[in-house]
């Protein structure tokens, strides 16, 4: 308590330094006058009396300095003086100052950017998704083929259905396929990125639309039977001006009117690391969104990326050993979503989308130079 009170009083003393000076002068003067008068009474000459009084007092200017130090927070005052001295020196050498400031700016910026990438890509690859530390990517490989990472393939829809039925180690199993459309609203048309996803997508990720609903199980099946779309918060805000009556409205996507059934919560960007998805359509619409070939009944057509969320307590290595054998010719790989070789380009996409900065190796090395400078 006492320490806090002392600190507060000293802090207050910072703002009353003028009053302090005049009070201190008056007090010290009063003291010296009394001492001189006393010395005169003892029979000293006026000169001696003054000198003796000063000697006794112990150096008026030292005492004033000690008094000022006790009155406020000297380190703050010293800091302020240093700051002023520093800025004077910077002004005197503008060239090297600008260089130093530039280095610091770029260096700090680059370091911050690197840490936000690490945060975004490695630690929290899927904003808004529940329990993402247990999320893993699933891919297939052909048995007997040497296992370089690039050899893995996507899943086919029948694979997904078998997997979901047979594997008990996962809380959730979803699929996701990136797609894009030209979105024309009013007189503005933009290329917009979205995903074709399994109907359990939002439920399994623990993402609740803030308006409307997610997909229903029936919307997985029926060739092009469910032209419905969930849009991102960003799209809702920017392209539809946050219209509260958006649900039920029809929007043309790839030449077919789709009913907007839901708006995803703010900060949810889907499950493609590094890209912000703007809309999601159910798997039944595959033919419309992935090149015009119907692939939902073709086991030989790998076109989707699988994600699983391990049940609590299940380690990643366990499902690797105990995945269900889908087909004699296949193995299944489970791996952390960001370690996948196929996702290197998505990492790059992340770099671009968060900082708008080029990420070529040469640029990176220049950035690193600036970072070590700072």
């Amino acid at each position: 308590m006492t320490a806090i009170r002392v600190f507060l009083r000293r802090l207050g003393g910072l703002f009353r330094s003028e009053r302090l000076e005049s009070d201190m002068d008056a007090e010290f003067e009063f003291h010296l006058e009394n001492e001189v008068a006393e010395n005169l009474r003892r029979g000293m000459s006026p000169d001696d009396a003054l000198a003796a009084a000063r000697r006794r007092f112990g150096g008026v200017s030292q005492m004033k300095e000690a008094y000022r130090d006790a009155h406020s927070l000297p380190f703050l005052q010293v800091f302020w003086q240093d700051l002023r001295f520093g800025s004077r020196m910077l002004r005197r050498n503008p060239g090297s100052s600008i260089l130093a400031i530039l280095c610091l700016t770029i260096g700090i910026g680059a370091t911050t950017a690197v840490f936000s990438w690490i945060e975004g890509v490695l630690l929290r690859p899927f904003p808004g998704v529940a329990h993402q530390e247990r999320m893993m990517a699933v891919a297939g490989t052909f048995r007997g083929v040497s296992g370089a990472p690039g050899d893995s393939t996507d899943l086919s829809w029948p694979d997904f259905q078998d997997f979901e039925r047979n594997c008990k180690l996962f809380d959730a199993f979803i699929v996701d396929r990136i797609t894009g459309v030209t979105l024309a609203i009013g007189d503005r048309a933009d290329r917009t990125r979205g995903s074709v996803v399994s109907a359990n997508y939002f439920d399994a990720l623990g993402v609740r639309p803030i308006l409307g609903r997610g997909f229903e199980p029936a919307e997985d099946s029926g060739r092009n039977a469910h032209p419905v779309v969930v849009i991102s918060y960003q799209m809702w805000k920017e392209r539809f001006h946050g219209d509260p009556a958006i649900i039920g409205r029809a929007q043309m996507l790839n030449g077919m009117p789709h009913t907007i059934i839901g708006v995803a919560p703010e900060g949810f960007y889907g499950t493609f690391v590094g890209w912000a998805m703007q809309f999601w359509v159910p798997v039944s619409m595959q033919e419309r969104f992935t090149g015009g070939v119907y692939q939902l009944e073709d086991r030989g057509a790998p076109w989707i990326e699988g994600f699983v969320r391990l049940k609590p307590g299940v380690t990643p290595s366990k499902p690797r050993r105990r995945y269900p054998r889908l087909r004699a010719s296949w193995s299944t790989i489970i791996r952390p979503p960001t370690a996948a070789g196929a996702r290197d380009c998505s990492l790059c996409g992340r770099l671009r989308s968060t900082t708008r900065a080029p990420c070529s190796p040469r640029c990176l090395s220049r950035w690193r130079w600036c970072a070590s400078c700072s």
């Binding site: 009063f30 007092f57 112990g58």
Partner: protein
């Protein structure tokens, strides 16, 4: 510096100031300085000026209060007085000081030390 005179031990000046104010009542700095010199019989090597930062610290602690007033010779002067918290602090510190000086006294007067026996070593 006169080597015959004792330097003021760290922390003891505050105790002297509190005690002086407790005895004299409200007093200005010069009066306090005179009083301390009187009591110590001029045996202390104390710059009078050092009283003021010490008084300021005591004031910041809340043990001393200060007020501008008029002195006997009709001059404007700052008067210091001890607060209730200061009296408490004085009692506690005085007790502490006595205990310490008692312990030190035992060390410094060997005749009063109990003779070491072989068993106790």
């Amino acid at each position: 510096m006169d080597h015959e005179k004792a330097d003021v031990l760290h922390g003891s000046l505050g105790l002297m100031l509190l005690r002086t104010l407790d005895t004299l009542g409200p007093q200005h700095g010069w009066g306090i300085a005179r009083r301390i010199e009187q009591i110590s019989g001029d045996a202390l090597a104390l710059n009078q000026g050092t009283l003021y930062p010490s008084l300021l610290r005591l004031e910041q602690m809340g043990w001393v209060a200060s007020k501008w007033g008029t002195s006997d010779n009709n001059r404007r002067a700052k008067f210091y007085s001890i607060t209730r918290a200061g009296k408490k602090q004085l009692a506690a510190e005085a007790e502490n000081w006595e205990r310490i000086s008692d312990i030190l006294g035992r060390f410094l007067k060997p005749s009063r030390l109990p003779k070491p026996s072989k068993e106790s070593l």
